[in-house]
């Protein structure tokens, strides 16, 4: 494969004196010593959105899981809000794909959102009114305040995903990591999620989101990072989401359309 067309421009930060929400330098990520993603160089400033795109197995989830502590940082460094891993763990909120969670687990939507408050509550203190109010407010921001007492598994896939976003909102983290939260999600839920993310970035929260939807990436992201085993390109969406870059990164999975756009075919 050809070399990446760009090495990852670093966007200007909103406040130069504040540390970046996420800074990744010369990093390789993997599991148990085996590197599955390398040469990653990214900086996400406060209030910015980074979209991770790439084919299945490209390393998008691995990168996100490395920041949470579920996968390994093999080489390089990662800092979250100025603190390096592994000490930085706990500073970001993670939103998994709803379909990866057990729908039979006996918790209500409000219970799930309250999990976002657990670290603030601590080990001993009982859950207080302020925490419950924060959870309900977060559910309201994704349009599900009336489903607070419904069992998580009885909600639709899109609603479950919104509950998980509400959990991240309730955590009040300055960095959100979302692992393909829009996969298989209905249009209403997608708009609710994107709207909530927009509100969060407006208040300075940084967002890292992996997605297969390049149109969404182009719409919401300040920068897009194309991955496939390594970082192929990173930068503003219009600089990165070009047919040339996508063909290089996606290989045979990229198909050129007559109108000049590139369609990605998952295999």
């Amino acid at each position: 494969m050809a070399e990446p067309p760009s090495a990852g421009p670093v966007p200007a930060q909103r406040h130069a004196s504040q540390p970046a929400a996420l800074r990744i330098e010369a990093a390789g990520f993997g599991y148990r010593g085996t590197t599955v993603l390398r040469d990653v160089e990214l900086t996400v400033g406060e209030g910015q959105t980074l979209a991770l795109v790439g084919p299945n197995g490209a390393g998008k989830s691995t990168l996100i899981k490395s920041v949470t502590g579920l996968a390994d940082l093999v080489t390089g460094s990662v800092t979250v809000l100025g603190r390096a891993l592994p000490k930085a763990r706990g500073l970001a909120a993670y939103v998994p794909q709803a379909e990866t969670l057990d729908p039979d687990f006996p918790v209500s939507a409000a219970d799930v959102v309250l999990m976002g408050r657990y670290r603030r509550i601590g080990w001993w203190r009982p859950t207080g009114r302020a925490d419950r109010d924060a959870a309900l407010a977060a559910l309201d921001r994704v349009g599900l305040a009336d489903r607070a007492r419904t069992r998580f598994g009885l909600l639709s896939g899109g609603q479950r995903q919104r509950v998980l976003v509400a959990r991240a909102i309730a955590a009040e983290a300055r960095l959100l990591l979302l692992d393909e939260p829009l996969n298989g999600v209905d249009a209403t839920s997608q708009e609710r999620i994107l709207s909530a993310l927009g509100e969060l970035t407006a208040t300075g929260t940084a967002v890292v989101i992996s997605t297969h939807d390049l149109a969404v990436a182009a719409r919401i992201a300040d920068q897009v990072c194309v991955l496939n085993g390594r970082q192929w390109a990173a930068g503003a969406p219009r600089e990165v989401l070009t047919p040339e870059v996508l063909r290089e990164a996606y290989g045979n999975h990229a198909v050129d359309l007559p109108d000049g756009r590139t369609m990605l075919v998952e295999t």
Binding site: Y94, P96, P106, S108, R151
Partner: protein, 276 residues
Amino acid sequence: MLEAPFMLRALAELTLLALICGPVSVFVFARRLSFVADALTHTVFPGVVAGFLVSGADGVFGGALVAGLVTAVVLTLLTRGGLLSDDAATAVVLTALFSVGVALVSRRSSYTSDLTAFLFGRLLTVTPGQLVETAVLAVLTLTLVAIGARAWVFRAFDVGGAAAAGYRIARLDLALNLVVALVVVAAVRAVGTILVVALLIVPAAAARMLTDRLIAMAAAGTVLTLLCGYAGLWLSWTASVDHGVRLTSATAVVLALVLAYVLLLPVGLLRRRRPA
């Protein structure tokens, strides 16, 4: 039945066990640790036998405690390091240590009666001293549950979310395995190494038929264990005294628990079919 002091002590022991098995079984259920719990009951067995061989009946508690804590650590390390899959690691440790226990007990001349006691417990011979030991373990277990409950629920529901929130997953897993081991140690003399697993699995499984909430499951599991404990003691007493049928108390208690689970199954199915 309760005029007999030994029956009162048995009921007190079962009450203490109900108080810890109700909540802990919820975490075993939520983390799908039934097989690990089963393994711990078996791996405690050589400790029970070794303790008995060294110090007689008084050594059983210490032997079980050491074996339970050691195997909780070993199981956590084996499954965490990825050396083996969860199931394979658990099965290897289970069978290996259970074999050691059988080998140890087979050296005794009273092999059959000792083995029966270790496997199926001696609920009716619980002493006041044993009650105190169980009470201490119950207080310790419930304290650990109160501290760890939220983190264990988060980890059971979404390990990635819990890790991102800053919880150390390996430490949480080790702590829960240790708590399960403590429950096994608390219960093993009364109900035996084979039947103790029922107290760690059935209360939550039965309570799940009644409720969708974890706290309610813990409460319902505790009440069910208590009721079934009393019912089992009554059944054992009636069978033995009134009808001359020998039925060990621990077996009767476990049978009552399983019966409760079977009777609640249709309730759970009906609740699931009901629209949200």
